[in-house]
């Protein structure tokens, strides 16, 4: 199995290269170069004429205007870059951002029940869980009436992909649970509505519109990647951020792309 660190390093370099090339092709390189040069010139003017207040203040204003112009020029390539990279980060986050459930390690599963007619203390009583044989409840469910939530503490005995069934108001909905010690694509949440949460946190289809279950969340632990230096660990996204920036910086110099 490839180590997560190696995967992040390789991905950072490859994506750093691809994104820089894409940025180069989709941007007005000459205009960006000029805008950056102008910014640098106004910064230098502040230093060169530091005893002349009118120059300092005028240059500061020009830096602000120049920054706006520069960001405007960077916006078009941003449009091209942001969609694929966002999708990719979301997809990768399901593998690299979370650790799958380990066997014989308790985890929580939370069902959020909608209650459109107001607080009904009895609403949570009818919510039950139907577990596959490899997963068992290690404690009775906890009802959190204030949040309309039912929380189960579960334990898996064997690796595999399982569907846990939640029955509420006569309807059954399912939620996948992944049990493995390997890297795996995880879907920590399943939502009925909430497009953005589904987009970013769910790898499953939406819950039916008429279901009283609004969301089901499996509490996968966050994954931190060991850097192998003094036991230091870091979330993959920050590591990716730093490494892809470094890779991007190197490739932009090598390819002569203005960013």
């Amino acid at each position: 199995m490839l180590s997560p660190l190696l995967i992040v390093v390789v991905l950072s370099v490859v994506i750093g290269l691809l994104m820089i090339v894409l940025f180069g092709y989709t941007s007005d390189q000459k205009a960006i170069g000029i805008a950056k040069d102008q910014l640098k010139a106004h910064l230098l003017a502040v230093r060169l004429y530091r005893d002349q207040l009118h120059v300092v203040m005028g240059s500061y204003g020009k830096v602000l205007r120049g920054t706006g112009r520069y960001l405007k020029l960077a916006f078009k390539p941003l449009l091209y870059v942001i969609i694929p990279i966002t999708l990719m980060i979301v997809w990768l986050d399901r593998s690299l951002g979370l650790t799958a459930i380990q066997t014989n390690t308790p985890f929580l599963l939370t069902a959020h029940i909608s209650d459109p007619h107001g607080k009904d203390p009895q609403a949570l009583d009818g919510v039950t869980i139907d577990l596959p044989p490899e997963i068992t409840a290690s404690a009775p469910p906890v009802h959190v009436a204030a949040d309309n939530e039912v929380v189960w503490r579960l334990v898996a005995s064997q690796d595999g992909s399982y569907d846990v069934k939640i029955v509420a108001a006569g309807q059954t909905v399912t939620k996948s649970v992944r049990v493995t010690s390997q890297l795996a694509q995880l879907s920590p949440e399943r939502w009925r509505d909430h497009f953005w949460q589904r987009f970013f946190s769910s790898g499953e289809s939406a819950l039916p519109q008429n279901s009283t279950v609004e969301s089901i969340v499996v509490d996968y632990p966050e994954r931190n990647i060991s850097l192998g230096v003094a036991g230091y660990e870091m979330n993959w996204i920050w590591l990716f951020f730093i490494l892809s920036m470094i890779a991007g910086f190197i490739f932009k110099e090598l390819l002569g792309i203005e960013v």
């Binding site: 060169l48 300092v56 960001l71 941003l78 990279i85 920036m245 910086f249």
Partner: protein, 725 residues
């Protein structure tokens, strides 16, 4: 019902998806976590750079604001000395190299120069006495230091190495690092390149700076290497190109090798491979090579489009298309020496021809102002600032390629396009400096006036030998147009200044025709002062075949004549006790020398330098200065130490006007917004005058005398500019 409900749900979801697509980007940026907002290194750099720029600017501004009161207080006490007696808040000095008072007067009379006429009417117009000799590096050195050449050590573009009878650049000496470490095939320089200023004396803006007065100094000649002072300075004339020369162009051509260029340029072959033409830009010698002469090169490709009369050029990562008769932008090029050592330059490409042959002219490789390998400004960041603000610009001292026009590599239009392109860049720098320097000194020298008069004087005269073949209908009013352009520039400057500003428009010398050449070495030879080796009637360049053991005098450069003095020259023959008598003898014979072809006096003045110069560097001067008459100048061969059979000959080159003659015949101009009482102003007076106008004490070593402002009944007013048309 369930199905229906589900269907509605899907429709609803689809609608949401469409909306989501539209708002995805905003949502990603505004709503989710920072991690999700990260959109790759490109966008990441953009965001980081922006914030970095704002942050740094804020820090600088904050620092400037926070310390401003303290600095103002500090400056207040210093300034009280400087400005307490100051007559003006600001002085703006525009230098138009070579602007001629007679032409200026003529064009003013013809109504071509309304802004200069305004200055003349309300302020001052006078001839400005120049230096001996009337050569730009000499005169501008005197302008900035306020002393005669004996105190600033500049006597010509070139000085004479008395040990080898060879010239060297008079203004600066560049030496590579003394130590080198050999690693394999490389010889790595260890230490810094040493650039030594040969011009002595202190520019007057240093004195202003010491009193707390800020100066912006742009392209004043002989300011390389730049020296520290309170202000900003961009070096001018005498800045070398990347090869270390004063400008070496390259003609890339598919034609079989032609004649070698006498000076100023090289040919490089263009070779065709697989339908693509390959050429190169020659660069400096590789500093890592064990032996000298390993020229670095940058290869480039040419893809001509014969039908479209264009060509696409690929130089490194730069790809651009130019038309025949058109210049490229400044293109950055990098010469790779190895081991990561690179030399950074810029040049422009001019497409001469795509069919039947392919020819590309490449300007001398200028030091890249945005990435200077040698210091060309003070502070170093000033040239970078200008390059970032306006783009790359010519940094070479003699940026207008007069040699290329002389050698017919460029035609008139191409030369003018190049000259006015450089001039445009200079104007931008001037106006930026005017905006930034609301108090203090702002001075800028424009070379265009000098170069264009040198190259187009032939059209100003009926019978100039260099224009005899050009029909009158094809002669253009280039010089008239030049003066009018300068007048418009002055008008725009006048719009930028107020009553508290003194505007001076000056030139270092005037101009005259250069129709006839005189080979002074030939005259010395024919009069027994210079002897060639037996059997020789002519010499090669730099005194090849001269018998020094029988030579008493020689000349190199434009006006200087040297005795072959014992104890000074390596093979000196003249005893110092006989030197004065020999100088007098040569003076007597040369003075009033007549050109037998025309009966005109070719030499109107001969000056012994021990009478002209005084100062600690006088001994470096030539022994005699030769003042040619109007229409005459040292021949091209004589300047290069060559002895020919003929003494006088026609000048057939485009370089058809000159000023390296009797200095009394080519004074410069002085215009000013305020009237000066001085009747015979000299260029040496400007430094003391400016210091006096700012209320500063004058150093005792000055040779110039400060001018007084003429008393005026009413308050002086800067004349309103005539709007540019």
């Amino acid at each position: 019902m369930y199905k229906s409900s589900n269907s509605v749900g899907h429709q609803s979801e689809g609608k949401r998806l469409r909306i989501a697509t539209v708002f995805l980007l905003l949502a990603i940026i505004l709503a989710p976590s920072a991690a999700h907002a990260y959109a790759g290194p490109g966008a990441g750099f953009a965001v980081l750079s922006s914030f970095w720029a704002i942050f740094v600017a804020f820090l600088y501004s904050f620092y400037a604001l926070a310390t401003w009161p303290v600095r103002q207080l500090f400056r207040f006490f210093r300034r009280r000395n400087a400005y307490g007696k100051a007559v003006f808040n600001r002085a703006v000095i525009l230098g138009f190299d070579g602007m001629d008072p007679e032409l200026a007067e003529r064009f003013m009379k013809e109504g071509r120069l309304p802004n200069l006429a305004k200055l003349r009417d309300k302020g001052t117009f006078n001839k400005l006495r120049t230096t001996f000799p009337a050569i730009s590096p000499v005169a501008w050195s005197t302008f900035m230091t306020g002393v005669n050449p004996g105190k600033h050590n500049i006597y010509d573009f070139l000085a004479c190495d008395r040990n080898h009878y060879l010239p060297f650049l008079s203004s600066a000496e560049i030496k590579g690092p003394k130590r080198q470490i050999k690693i394999g095939k490389y010889s790595i320089p260890f230490g810094k390149t040493e650039i030594k200023a040969m011009r002595k004396g202190t520019p007057f803006w240093h004195w202003l700076g010491k009193a707390g007065i800020f100066s912006s100094v742009i392209r004043v000649p002989v300011t390389f290497p730049p020296e520290k002072f309170q202000g900003v300075l961009l070096s001018g004339m005498c800045v070398p190109d990347l090869k270390g020369s004063q400008g070496t162009f390259c003609l890339c051509t598919t034609r079989a090798q032609g004649d070698k260029f006498r000076e100023g340029g090289v040919r490089a072959p263009i070779e065709k491979k697989n339908g693509v033409y390959h050429a190169y830009v020659p660069g400096p010698d590789n500093p890592l090579a064990e032996t000298a002469g390993h020229e670095m090169r940058v290869n480039y490709e040419i893809r001509p489009n014969v039908a479209g009369k264009t060509a696409q050029l690929t130089v490194g990562s730069e790809k651009f298309t130019i038309k025949v008769g058109e210049y490229s932008e400044w293109i950055p090029i990098e010469f790779k020496a190895g081991l990561g050592f690179n030399a950074h330059g810029i040049c422009r490409f001019y497409l001469k021809e795509v069919s039947p042959e392919v020819e590309v002219y490449v300007t001398p490789v200028n030091i890249d102002p945005g990435h200077p390998d040698l210091p060309i400004s003070h502070p170093v960041t000033y040239s970078i600032y200008l390059a970032k603000l306006y783009g790359a610009f010519a940094t070479l001292g003699l940026a207008e390629d007069t040699w290329a026009l002389n050698e017919h590599v460029l035609d008139d239009d191409a030369f003018l396009a190049q000259a006015y392109g450089n001039h445009h860049d200079r104007e931008q720098m001037l106006f930026d400096a005017l905006d930034k320097t609301q108090q203090g000194l702002c001075t800028c020298v424009f070379d265009t006036t000098d170069r264009i008069q040198h190259m187009f004087w032939r059209y100003l005269e009926e019978d100039h030998p260099a224009a005899r073949d050009v029909p009158k209908s094809e002669r253009r009013e280039v010089i008239q147009d030049l003066y009018q352009r300068m007048d418009k520039l002055i008008g725009r400057v006048m719009e930028k200044i107020d009553d508290e500003t003194l505007l001076m428009v000056i030139s270092d010398h005037g101009f005259k025709s250069f129709a006839r050449c005189m080979n002074l070495n030939a005259w010395l030879h024919q009069n027994g002062y210079l002897t060639l080796k037996d059997g020789k009637t002519e010499s090669g360049d730099w005194f090849e075949d001269v018998d020094w053991s029988r030579t008493r005098a020689y000349t190199m450069g434009l006006n200087g004549l040297y005795l072959n003095l014992k104890g000074r020259e390596k093979q000196g023959t003249v005893d110092p006790s006989e030197a004065q008598a020999l100088k007098e003898e040569i003076k007597q014979k040369l003075n009033g020398l007549v050109d037998p072809a025309s009966g005109t006096v070719g030499i109107t003045g001969v000056f012994l330098t021990n009478n002209v110069y005084r100062g600690p560097y006088s001994e470096n001067a030539p022994d005699i200065l030769v003042g040619y008459g109007a229409g005459y100048r040292a021949s091209w061969d004589s300047v290069m130490g060559k002895v020919t059979e003929k003494i006088f000959e026609d000048n057939m080159k485009a370089w058809s006007g000159d000023h390296c003659i009797d200095p009394r015949l080519v004074p410069g101009v002085l215009f000013s917004s305020h009237k000066f009482a001085e009747e015979k102003p000299a260029i040496v007076d400007i430094a003391p005058t400016i210091l006096k106008l700012f209320g500063l004490a004058l150093p005792s070593y000055f040779d110039g005398k400060p001018w007084d402002l003429a008393p005026q009944p009413n308050a002086t007013k800067v004349p309103a500019a005539v709007p540019a048309t």
